[in-house]
Subunit: 423 residues, 2 copies
């Protein structure tokens, strides 16, 4: 079954709101095993809506429209679609009564134009809307399905889940395929490098399919499996994931919606470890990210933002001599900061970042984007240097990601492996 989504609303074309409806519906259709090849956004304009709908009618079996079911003159979805399909609009007295109650219960007068919302294409199923005045429409014609839903997500989402999904499941019963997908999030490897390591999988891919997506601070590997049974799809995903982890396992830091800070938090808890953070160029971002995780106070209690040398000396007891000889942005100072904050916080780990976030402050040998990250443990201090690109906020984000990943690598024992590799 081929599905298609049409979002109706000039406010979308003006960019005044982001189209979350299309993403939500796409995801739900994918879960139902319905392929979506196109989504289109069109304004509150009958001619252009008709043009778009005509094309969808030609190429798709299921057309879902959102928006344009309101009471105002520029709400045209019902009228335009009914006209195209040659269906009359019929007054539904139950809905009209419901509208009357709705307004009465709010002590508001029901205006003439509200009646518009009680008219529906002949033969259509009416989808109740407990959260607003725009009832939805589900109609089947010539073996195709057309669904019309209100635009506001808080009305559309429940209507889709309670009214549309069950009807689609009925239609699909028997001829339905499940689609399951899983996202592996990788850090520390380039997209093209990753592709080379997985080339044969990417070339041979059919089921599950495999797609890479570069995000600001991670690369996502999306596995999507089709099968007649959910268990079978899950099995296909598990096999592919195992093969991928065999090759690039140490770069995989999270699965699906998991974040780096959540993963680090879980590892710290498992190891019964605690952490203190000293931030220079990240300015508090690492502490912010660690504390996005509920319960993080169990392992993170101490952070300092030491922008100035004075702060580094006073709070972290960084030797002034180091600062003068090597400069604040140096592996030596990063080491001292990490050891200092670990000492200050009396924690098992001390994490420190010092670098040049830019746009100013770069100099020969120390360009903008140069960042040193150090992790002090009881036994030693691990240091990494990075050259990040991008505007200041991006460099800060990337530095925070690398810092959290350093903690992850340490807790998983990868740092020792890296050392061996270097020996």
């Amino acid at each position: 079954m081929k599905g298609e989504i049409i979002s109706v609303g000039t406010e979308l074309l003006l960019g005044q709101i982001v189209n979350t409806n299309a993403a939500f519906i796409s995801q739900k259709l994918a879960e139902l095993g319905i392929d979506v090849y196109y989504t289109t956004t069109v304004g509150d304009n009958a001619a252009r809506l008709r043009e778009v709908f005509t094309r969808s009618w030609q190429r798709s079996d299921l057309i879902i429209l959102t928006g344009g079911l309101g009471p105002t003159m520029d709400d045209l979805t019902r009228e335009t679609v009914a006209d195209f399909l040659g269906l009359e609009l019929v007054l539904n007295h139950d809905i009209l009564a419901a509208l009357r109650d709705y307004f009465a219960s709010r002590g508001r007068v029901m205006t003439e134009n509200n009646k518009k919302q009680a008219y529906f294409p002949a033969g259509a199923q009416i989808l109740p809307n407990p959260n607003g005045t725009a009832a939805g429409v589900f109609l089947e014609k010539e073996g195709k399905v057309v669904v019309m839903l209100p635009g506001p997500p808080f009305e559309m989402v429940p209507m889709f889940e309670n009214e549309v999904v069950p009807r689609l499941e009925n239609l699909l019963a028997g001829r339905r395929e499940v689609i399951k997908s899983r996202v592996l999030k990788l850090y520390g490897v380039g997209e093209s490098q990753l592709e080379t390591m997985l080339q044969d999988l990417l070339e041979k891919q059919s089921n599950p399919t495999l797609a890479t997506l570069a995000k600001e601070n991670e690369i996502q590997l999306r596995l999507t499996a089709k099968a007649s049974l959910p268990e079978r799809a899950e099995k296909l995903l598990a096999e592919m994931e195992a093969e991928i982890r065999k090759r690039v396992g140490q770069f995989v830091f999270a699965v699906d919606d998991e974040t780096m800070e959540e993963v680090v938090g879980i590892l710290l808890r498992q190891r019964g470890a605690t952490i203190s953070v000293a931030e220079s160029c990240t300015g508090g971002l690492i502490g912010h990210r660690l504390t996005e995780v509920p319960g993080s106070s169990a392992y993170f209690q101490y952070g300092v933002v030491t922008y100035s040398n004075e702060a580094k000396e006073k709070l972290l007891h960084v030797d002034g001599e180091l600062l003068r000889r090597f400069g604040a942005v140096s592996s030596q100072v990063a080491r001292a900061m990490a050891a200092g904050v670990r000492e200050l916080g009396k924690t098992s780990l001390g994490l420190a970042v010092t670098g040049i976030a830019g746009p100013e402050g770069g100099r020969p040998g120390k360009p903008v984007g140069l960042v040193y990250i150090a992790l002090a443990t009881q036994a030693e201090v691990h240091v990494e240097s990075h050259n990040f690109r991008g505007p200041r906020p991006v460099i800060k984000k990337r530095a925070s990601q690398a810092a959290l990943n350093l903690v992850r690598k340490y807790l998983l024992g990868y740092l020792d492996e890296e050392k061996e590799d270097n020996e």
Copy 2:
């Protein structure tokens, strides 16, 4: 000029990411006075992309594509569009060299497939990408304009603003009515309250038009003026802005893209003031926000994240007695933290936040969302208490916004006014 946006990416059709690019570009085109009648999303599929592009080519003067410029096999935008337009893909040696540097500077090997990103349609202008490896494309043919941009917003947005907008402005110069808009950002007033205070303006509006939009941490007032000359449009905006500021001026904290942290930074510089921050429930977010501003080290050098009572006592010299008597989340402790961090940093101001971000930790009399914010100055300590709603990340954001706004209010002298109002 009729514009159209094509978003390319199967991940969009699977609903795995929300299409914020289309909204961003739509808004920018609207500001340029370019009408957008359609936006379409299509997957990483050459045939379907070609079908969609063909239709756009027939009905629009400007086609902006995002996504599909990556190095991987399923990145097909460049190839598909060039093929449709009958343009050869030509190797650009500068970009190739830049790619080599990019990988070299990261100590990574540049694989064969990366070369793909150095090929561009013959005659196209190449748009540099400081934030990634996918350069953009701007090409004019048969009086139409085709723009290809990378998919990741952090690459697309700066490229659009720095490379695409100026080129479009050139093309449009002369032949259009100017549309100028200005966004006033307000904090500390509710949307309905604001609408009441501006009711007559909102009802009488024609040119400039006036629209309110409630965001997570601010209310936006968008003024949009049309005129034949830029100066005239600017004058209309200025008059309306003056009238609005007359009524709700103290709530207006920023204009257009300005952020609260930028405004606070500007005010601190103007006053020659410096600030230290002690964060509990915000976990570093305030420091992070302050340091998003280039040059913030001039006024922010000292921050501490003191989650534990021990940290509050040790670093900020908060009296243990206060902690025991009133608890860490209390106006008394907020005061002591603010004074303590001001002392620690030897700065003119000390800002402190202590609260319950949740989801756990609420108790009778101290619910989740209760946040105390204190600002210590040479003369006194100002304290505010707030009850924020929402999940943990939202409470953190709102607390950081209120804290920065407290600094803004102090630096603008509003706190004294508030006091008088209370007397």
